[in-house]
């Protein structure tokens, strides 16, 4: 009969936008604008080292990239790097989480220890690794590590040792985070479900496969997702552990090198943007695996 304008609702909408505006504004400035700038730059020959005006070069930067063997090598290395480290992180992280799932004496301490690699500044813990794996020749145990390095490089090719050490470091650090994420997931599963499973089946493996894994699936997927995306776009780990002397460039380090050392903004932007298809592919696969958290906000 009488149709009334929903006053409360309009107020809610105004409030919602007011609350969101700081975050959106900041993200627009530091994300949306830069990405736009980057897309534009990738179509130009912008370089601070070059005098005169910046020219629009169309897709030339991309064309040159696709013809460049270094790019294809970097892409391949990136994919291998992401796949291996993600698998390693997930396996170790799941192991940790399952070990820590039940209460035992000293659990809090063990938890802290396991979390340490992630919480510890990578920029400095990486030095410890560098020191361990690539000791200067005068150090006490250098001959031993040296022999190991030559053995590995001899088998897999020059640079394999450095690459392996980067992956080891990444797994060491990342599994710590995955463990905490999965532990939070296990905590969120009602205890009764495990107890019920205990009544149903005596085989621990079957319980793990049929109850724990399906219930943890969203968290596993989220873990894989974060791990893959961060590995694809990795720059700092590789850069730090090899102190910039990169034998096996990944896409990230290659772009960094192009900008900092060669001042080639255009090609570097194009190179960075080639990561986008990788990221989108991972995103799509995982969207199918589970409803990402923000989707539930509309429910």
């Amino acid at each position: 009969m009488v149709s009334v304008k929903p006053a409360g609702r309009a107020g809610d909408i105004r409030l919602a936008y007011a609350l969101l505006s700081p975050a959106l504004l900041l993200l627009a400035v530091v994300i949306a604008y830069p990405v736009g700038w980057e897309v534009w730059t990738s179509l130009t020959d912008l370089s601070p080292l070059k005098d005169g005006s910046t020219g629009f070069v169309g897709l030339a930067n991309y064309r040159r990239l696709l013809a460049d063997a270094t790019f294809w090598q970097a892409a391949l290395v990136t994919v291998v790097y992401a796949a291996v480290t993600s698998a390693g992180k997930l396996a170790l992280g799941l192991g940790f989480a399952l070990l820590l799932a039940r209460p035992f004496r000293g659990r809090a301490l063990v938890f802290l220890a396991i979390f340490l690699p992630w919480a510890y500044p990578a920029g400095v813990s990486v030095i410890g690794w560098y020191w361990t794996l690539n000791p200067p020749t005068i150090t006490a145990y250098a001959p031993f590590m040296g022999q190991l390095k030559y053995a590995v490089d001899g088998t897999f090719g020059i640079g394999a040792w450095a690459f392996a050490s980067v992956m080891l470091f990444n797994i060491w650090r990342g599994s710590s985070f995955i463990a905490v994420l999965l532990l939070a997931g296990i905590n969120a599963i009602p205890q009764e479900l495990f107890e019920c499973a205990l009544l149903e089946s005596r085989s621990a493996w079957r319980r793990f496969r049929l109850v724990t894994v399906p219930l943890l699936k969203p968290f596993l997927a989220l873990g894989v997702f974060l791990s893959l995306t961060s590995a694809f776009a990795d720059l700092s780990n590789v850069w730090m552990l090899t102190a910039g002397r990169i034998v096996f460039p990944v896409i990230g380090t290659h772009a960094y090198w192009l900008v900092i050392k060669a001042g080639q903004y255009g090609p570097a932007s194009a190179l960075s943007l080639t990561l986008v298809p990788f990221l989108l592919a991972v995103l799509l696969v995982l969207f199918r695996l589970f409803d990402p958290p923000q989707e539930r906000s509309t429910a």
Partner: protein, 363 residues
């Protein structure tokens, strides 16, 4: 103290029409109960009164103000939630004082009112505790206390007893009733439990699928249900329904189905005239059936076979079969009945209900 009017109230979500053309006049100081199965629109109606749901169409008046556009805080109401909704980071005292603090009452007045409410509810010793240190029943009292310190115009209760165990629920029910008698504030109470509805309400509103089915005093709903749904919903165990054909024999109307043949009581006969030769639903409450004795008129008796025996102590519930019709009878505890016994039952002729098969309305 105020009356509440709902006029052509409607609520539509994207696809669901949750409340349909609700018209209700709640009198000052009245305790009114909205009851119905889940999804019937009772909670949505209450939340519209509270201002927590936007009104799609229609008008709500509290006292003499139309409140459609007022935010909840300005409606001068208090609400008790099913999960109590106590603020976990505040003590009991602060929980109860919150509403008064928000309305900038002086400290002494707040202390006085909280003290009074705590005394009424017997929770003086709990004032310094945090909600997590309380039992379910205590939380419930605090939630009620938080509502009454405000002296609001209307109390709203959203299934407040559902989370309590059966014994506590009965006890709190009595206390709520006593509280209402003492405070004399208009109250709207939502529940899915018809016993709560019958015992608490001055009047009861039965809802289903967003429609009001019937409004009336508890005994009116019980004695003269407006339709088959209300008849089945009110009363426990619920009313027996049997589909029957009306036929005229020797100038009298008879209701007939394989296994049962009873006379239509003279009081209903006039109304059933148009149904001659047609089918309708006969309703009879379990308590209006009894074991037939020699003095019972044969016109209202029929043979059954006992299917289940449920002795409750003060009475026995007999699940019986008459032909293919299943019925429940509530009989005296002295009745000796065993499984598969043959038993002749007799129905109370003045308490038989008839419902139209299609419209389900009472005839």
């Amino acid at each position: 103290m105020a009356q509440v009017m709902m006029k052509d109230l409607n609520k539509k979500y994207d696809e669901v029409h949750a409340v349909k053309d609700v018209n209700l006049h709640i009198r000052d100081k009245e305790f009114i109960v909205l009851v119905g199965p889940s999804g019937c629109g009772k909670s949505t109606t209450l939340r519209m009164v509270a201002g927590l749901e936007e009104i799609t169409a229609g008008e709500i008046t509290i006292g003499d103000r139309v409140v459609n556009d007022l935010p909840p805080k300005d409606r001068d109401i208090a609400m008790v939630f099913q999960n109590y909704a106590l603020y976990p980071h505040m003590t009991v005292y602060d929980n109860m004082a919150f509403g008064l603090k928000m309305r900038k009452f002086p400290k002494t007045e707040i202390a006085k009112r909280v003290g009074e409410a705590a005394e009424i509810l017997g929770i003086q010793e709990l004032l310094k505790r945090k909600p997590r240190q309380l039992s379910g029943g205590q939380r419930q009292r605090v939630a009620v206390g938080r509502a009454i310190v405000r002296h609001p115009q209307v109390f709203l209760f959203d299934e407040p007893l559902s989370n309590l165990d059966a014994k506590l629920r009965v006890q709190m029910r009595v206390e709520l009733k006593r509280l209402h008698d003492r405070l004399e504030t208009t109250a709207i109470y939502v529940t899915h439990d018809q016993v709560e509805a019958m015992t608490l309400g001055d009047r009861v509103v039965v809802m289903k699928d967003g429609w009001i089915q019937q409004v009336g005093e508890p005994l009116e709903l019980y004695g003269r249900p407006a339709n088959r749904f209300v008849a089945g919903f009110i009363g426990s165990p619920s009313m027996n329904f049997v589909e029957m054909t009306i036929a005229e024999t020797n100038g009298a109307l008879w209701a007939d189905t394989p296994g049962i043949r009873v006379k239509v009581p003279p009081a209903s006969a006039a109304r059933l005239g148009p149904y001659k030769g047609q089918r309708l639903t006969l309703g009879i409450r379990p308590e209006d059936l009894r074991v037939a004795t020699g003095s019972d008129p044969a016109d209202y008796s029929f043979d059954t076979v006992v299917d289940v025996v449920e002795p409750l102590g003060s009475e026995i519930l007999l699940d019986v079969k008459a032909g293919s019709n299943v019925m429940v009878a509530r009989v005296d505890p002295t009745v000796r009945a065993k499984l598969h016994d043959k038993m002749r039952l007799s129905l109370h002729p003045e308490r038989v209900h008839f419902f139209d098969l299609k419209t389900e309305l009472a005839i």
